[in-house]
Symmetry: C2
């Protein structure tokens, strides 16, 4: 390896090593309300003004603001030696709480539940299943997630937040006009804290169908990383895993679905199985 190549490779390692800080910069800025305040004010604000309104230390906040600029979440202008910050389009679209496509509660859920859970990944991999009993004192992590009204809002909003971003793609993937009734089974399962028991399982009649919105693993399992990450999150927190298209096909055929169609989406893919 040439020395230039080696430095590039080392920079990749460095990026990986600091990747969790990227996440914490964003979730902290959300939590402190920086993006919401900048959106509401409608003008650039100095770090001093922001710190005053948000009741934080000016030194601490300025350092966080600069990190947000580095990640292109904020703009920074200098006027007479004073720093002025504003939201970028990206931030206004996805991180401001009031945006129709906001992912604010997803970030909160990831920050409060998933980030600390991932600290237990070595233990979970060793045992092959979630360690909620020993970590949270209950086999069902959702008992913890749903402890308070606020936590309930965080995790159900997290599910709802994907819909304004991906809903159009999901609903236009297939002609669903022949189905008079659509029932969201996944969210219901999530809210009821567990996988359905044998006797609460749903029976599909002839003419009925199931629409699955999922990440798909490549057939050779080499990617994509986002599907791998979802599989690991499920391993750490709940049950279940991501599958390849072929594996979904097998699963659906076993359950008696005959006509199976798949449409690749931008991030999630859409599978329709009909009886």
């Amino acid at each position: 390896m040439s020395s230039t190549e080696e430095i590039k490779t080392f920079q990749t390692l460095f990026k990986y090593q600091h990747s969790f800080i990227t996440f914490k910069v964003i979730s902290t800025a959300c939590e402190l309300g920086i993006f919401d305040l900048l959106r509401e004010s409608g003008e650039l604000l100095s770090s001093g003004t922001l710190a005053e309104h948000l009741k934080t230390s000016p030194i601490g906040l300025q350092r966080l603001l600069e990190a947000c600029v580095g990640l292109k979440l904020l703009t920074l202008e200098w006027k007479d030696g004073k720093d002025f910050y504003g939201n970028t389009d990206f931030t206004n679209l996805y991180l401001v709480k009031s945006s129709p496509k906001s992912q604010y509660y997803s970030m909160k859920f990831y920050s409060e539940v998933m980030y600390p859970s991932m600290q237990h990944l070595p233990e979970v991999v060793r045992k092959g299943k979630n360690q909620s009993s020993s970590i949270y004192g209950t086999p069902n992590v959702f008992e913890i997630i749903y402890r308070s009204k606020e936590e309930l809002q965080t995790s159900s909003s997290f599910l709802n937040e994907l819909w304004p971003v991906l809903g159009r793609e999901v609903l236009s993937a297939f002609d669903l006009s022949q189905f008079p009734l659509i029932c969201d089974v996944g969210a219901e399962t999530f809210k009821n804290h567990c996988l359905p028991s044998e006797d609460s399982q749903i029976t599909f009649h002839a003419g009925g169908g199931v629409l699955i919105v999922e990440m798909l693993l490549d057939e050779d399992k080499r990617g994509p990383s986002t599907a791998h990450f979802y599989s690991l999150l499920m391993l750490v927190l709940t049950e279940g895993k991501e599958r390849s298209a072929t594996e979904f096909n097998v699963l659906l055929r076993k359950a008696g679905f005959q006509k199976i169609e798949l449409k690749k989406g931008s991030l999630f893919h859409i599978i329709l199985g009909r009886k």
Copy 2:
């Protein structure tokens, strides 16, 4: 924003949101000894064989191995329906413990100390300084880091590990032949757990010099992100901050250093100040 652009933007958000999982995949694979075992064996090993040797669940390990493949840390070959894994060059260079340029202990240090500390970033930003007293029960986090011999090894190896990667660049930046004695002050300070007190401060005689190896912030503070991250890590764990070249200049001139030279490195920059 066109719908294609919007999907690309959303993928960026998604990448940020899952960035901490990238880190935990790598640190967990290091901790479980996957890369070391593959290096020692010198051949591709199946997930079953790896799980047996590493005493982990085959299901849990397979999921972690696949995530490593997605991140290009491992290769995956299929033979007769069985999965076989091997290290990539990247992994052999930086993640295998025995490699001369290994960053194994850095990953361990980041995983055990920095990852959980970052969970307290909102509190630290609010207060403007590290919250070690309330989080760790001591104002000095290094008391915790150095609790055991093993922890001492982890954090001093972390400092030592950068040297084989960056040392050549640092030592060739300037002609240092006029300095008969070189003393590593930074590592000593780190090992002594705190910033030097007034009476342990070093006096430089005429002809003496100080060589600083640091990330540099851009003059307009807009980047680079790695320098912002270092500044935040210092805010969370210790004291200190990153500076721009101009700020270093001011600092050194105040301390009586006259001839100040700067050489940009690949990741860290090198500043020589002479009295």
